[in-house]
Symmetry: C2
């Protein structure tokens, strides 16, 4: 590659864009964890400015010339070629929308989110419907524009923002199978649990400082590198920061240590992915996480596959007893496992257990597809929500507060995101199964608190590839087959019915 090559110039520009994105990531983390209330206005301005500058750099006309010029250059290695492909993808997405639409969307989402914050506690969907209608209209306009530019259907154009290469047709195949499976499965699990030994309560309080110390210990066991990351507290847990400074957060309830504990392990899964991304490509698009399916798969692999396993709870039970001065049968591994695998027909997605969670996601996926296609109006949304809950989860909310008002996503313009949660869960099952088959010490390792066999496999087969290949290619190479739902169903049946 010549020193003044078009490709080299593209890398130079994206290094700068990356620096702005990293700065934003740290400022967002600070906003959620540290910033005093008075900083809000200034912070919004800082973040908006960084976003606009990065966007201006991407839609800069020079890039439109540099991309084809770079494509014609000889001697690009496979990473550089893949990087160029990712650059082009980002460029296509960014240039597909007229600038004024981006700004109208941003303003509409802010207004709708504010209205939603007021409407939700009252369960008053009608109060936020006008704002949501504006967001939906603009989202459909944006989806149409992106569809035209990218040669995709409108819904796929939205999905592609979160999961590059993700297509509704592939999701339909897997979710259709799951939607037939889940309602009966959930019923059988609930019967099965009723017939089994009772779940003994765990008496608190559980001091926050002890929960945190335990979280740090388990993060270390899982391979989190505290030279390159932190654990802090925020109202909504998330993984933020940058790949060499990964910051996870959790929140603590002193009457129940379980949400924070599994929450920490969930975010640790996200963090291990970021920490394992290819070091040489830190500042370029090809070095980033592949997409939200793989990202969710990594958090769910650690939380659901590894840390809700009987093997893990055999290891963790003595630590839990020591941490919380627990004693007696309630603190035995079997009873702790019953807590961590307890299934019930709940109304709230974020509180759902492993077995009902996908039913919540499938409902949202169906509804958002219909909304984007124009097959469902907002007036009919609450009814459609309740019908879907009855069919898929087997319970119906008494108020929209616990129904179609519960999640921020749509009110913030995030259509096309929901399916990645359950696609990630399916991928997690398949990847964990492949890891356990490839190295017989993966599961025994977890049973002694040694995640190194698992992490070594994940580093080699998932993390270090960044965005070099597509999600499909990555999963095929790692597991020997395309994503299917069989391993996931088998995992659920094994864990919840045997």
């Amino acid at each position: 590659m010549r020193p003044n090559s078009a490709y080299g110039e593209i890398e130079r520009r994206f290094r700068r864009i990356n620096a702005l994105e990293e700065a934003s990531a740290v400022l967002q983390w600070d906003q959620q964890t540290t910033m005093p209330a008075g900083g809000a206005e200034g912070r919004a301005e800082q973040l908006a400015t960084l976003k606009v500058l990065a966007h201006e750099m991407i839609v800069n006309p020079a890039l439109a010339d540099l991309i084809p010029a770079a494509r014609g250059e000889d001697g690009l290695d496979i990473w550089q070629q893949a990087n160029l492909r990712e650059v082009e993808r980002i460029w296509r997405h960014s240039t597909a929308l007229p600038g004024d639409l981006v700004e109208r969307m941003s303003r509409a989402c802010s207004a709708c989110e504010m209205a939603w914050r007021r409407a939700r506690p009252a369960g008053d969907f009608a109060a936020v419907r006008p704002q949501l209608q504006t967001v939906l209209d603009l989202t459909r306009e944006a989806a149409a524009a992106k569809a035209a530019a990218l040669g995709l259907t409108p819904y796929d154009a939205l999905l592609d923002q979160y999961e590059p290469g993700g297509r509704a047709a592939a999701i339909d195949a897997l979710f259709g199978d799951l939607a037939r499976f889940l309602p009966g499965f959930i019923g059988r699990v609930i019967e099965h649990q009723k017939a089994g030994p009772p779940m003994l309560p765990l008496a608190g309080p559980f001091p926050e400082a002890r929960q945190r110390a335990l979280g740090l210990e388990l993060m270390t066991a899982a391979g989190f590198d505290f030279e390159r990351g932190r654990l802090d507290t925020s109202l909504h847990p998330f993984t933020g920061g940058t790949p060499d400074d990964v910051r996870i957060t959790t929140r603590y309830r002193e009457d129940d240590f379980m949400p924070a504990l599994m929450g920490v392990m969930h975010e640790t899964g996200h963090a291990l992915y970021e920490l394992g991304l290819p070091r040489d490509w830190r500042q370029q698009p090809v070095g980033k996480a592949r997409g939200m399916i793989i990202h969710e798969s990594q958090s769910l692999l650690i939380e659901m596959q590894a840390c809700r396993s009987k093997a893990f709870l055999n290891y963790a039970a003595p630590l839990l007893r020591r941490t919380f001065d627990g004693a007696g049968p309630a603190w035995e591994a079997d009873n702790l496992y019953r807590h961590y695998t307890h299934v019930e027909r709940g109304l709230i997605r974020v509180d759902a257990d492993e077995a009902t969670y996908p039913a919540h996601v499938i409902l949202r996926y169906r509804l958002e597809r219909a909304l984007i296609a124009g097959d469902l109006t907002l007036a009919d949304l609450p009814g459609a929500w309740n019908d879907g809950m009855r069919e898929l989860v087997g319970t119906v909310p008494a108020s929209d507060r616990q129904g179609c008002l519960q999640d921020l996503h749509w009110y913030d313009g995030a259509f096309g995101y929901f399916p990645t949660y359950t696609m990630g869960a399916i991928a997690a099952a398949q990847l964990f199964d492949a890891a356990a088959q490839a190295d017989g010490d993966v599961l025994p390792g977890i049973g002694r608190g040694d995640f190194r066999p698992l992490l070594t496999w994940l580093r080699k087969h998932v993390h270090r590839h960044g965005s070099l290949v597509s999600t499909d290619e990555l999963l095929r190479a790692a597991t020997g087959r395309p994503l299917d739902v069989a391993t996931y169903k088998r995992h659920l049946e094994t864990r919840y019915l045997s």
Copy 2:
């Protein structure tokens, strides 16, 4: 003002620049307080990118046309006119240097700082002299370029970066007077203290958590608004963040609570200034702190004038006893006051007491002026340092480690900064005197832990003006006379000899 005026366009551009500078300020705070080691490389890239982008916006050729166009526009109010003047000042400074010199400086300073970190512990000035020579040569080149562009002497051009309008001639007049006064004064104080009651030791340890709680209590008493700021810990104490999110830091020694306590009050003085800057001009140059003389005056006014006073220690003594379970004569206000006003001929500026500190600063000011003028070579620097210490402070270091290697400033290219410390101390004395004369409750208020009378006066006469007028004009308006050294000397004599 017309909506599309040149002035309006300038404000728009500087709002963006301000957002980048605020983002940098938060990222720098994070780097000193929070960031894990692994984040260092990425953070350097983030900060460099933000700096380069802000610089590009300032030197953008469009601004060279907008400034004269705005100057010709009618209807600008006095704040807008002052803002335009500040914009032009920033523009002149930024465009005075060729881009490659900025980059060479930046690289030379990084290399020199690294060499200094190795050379200092060994006291090996020769090891860092080549790098310091490069920094000095480039600084003199930059000073000459700025001098030509700004119509100033080279040293004044450097000083003007930290203290707009600051001139060596004015400093010479005040420092000349002080340099004649200090050596004799220091000798008299030491004799006076020998003749007085002994300083009784305070027995620790003093747990960090208690020191922090006390710091928070005193910050609140002084008027710090925790809705718009924080107190954290860092290796080197500083005030950072933004005017609506002011973050001060300190460090704690468990064997001595006094450095952290006065350190917190010092940074609180800086913070109160930032918190009091004019709200309507947050995002524009005219809304910023006037310069380093006023900034240092605000920290020293709170720390030295207010919190090392007998009145304050009468108020604080019971809090200190309660906080640290102190009892007996050592914990009486008189003995605490003796600790906080103890004077000795020390070698290290940052550890110096109020009486010897200005002597350290005058030495550095003399030496850096001579270095910039070419009247002193680096080969002669250690000797000149020791001669100056003998004359001004009355003690001589055994090693350059405690001599010309002790401060980072020059090794990092910061020539022209030192005099603002003592100019700030002189201004603090004059401002505090004016406040106490204007409101008879200022000093009694401090004696009961009520800083509101003082803060009200400072808000009205200093903080709310931002950069509306020059330092000279601000001090004249606030105190009724130009800065002189008489009040400062009287303060020192009253506190240390009576």
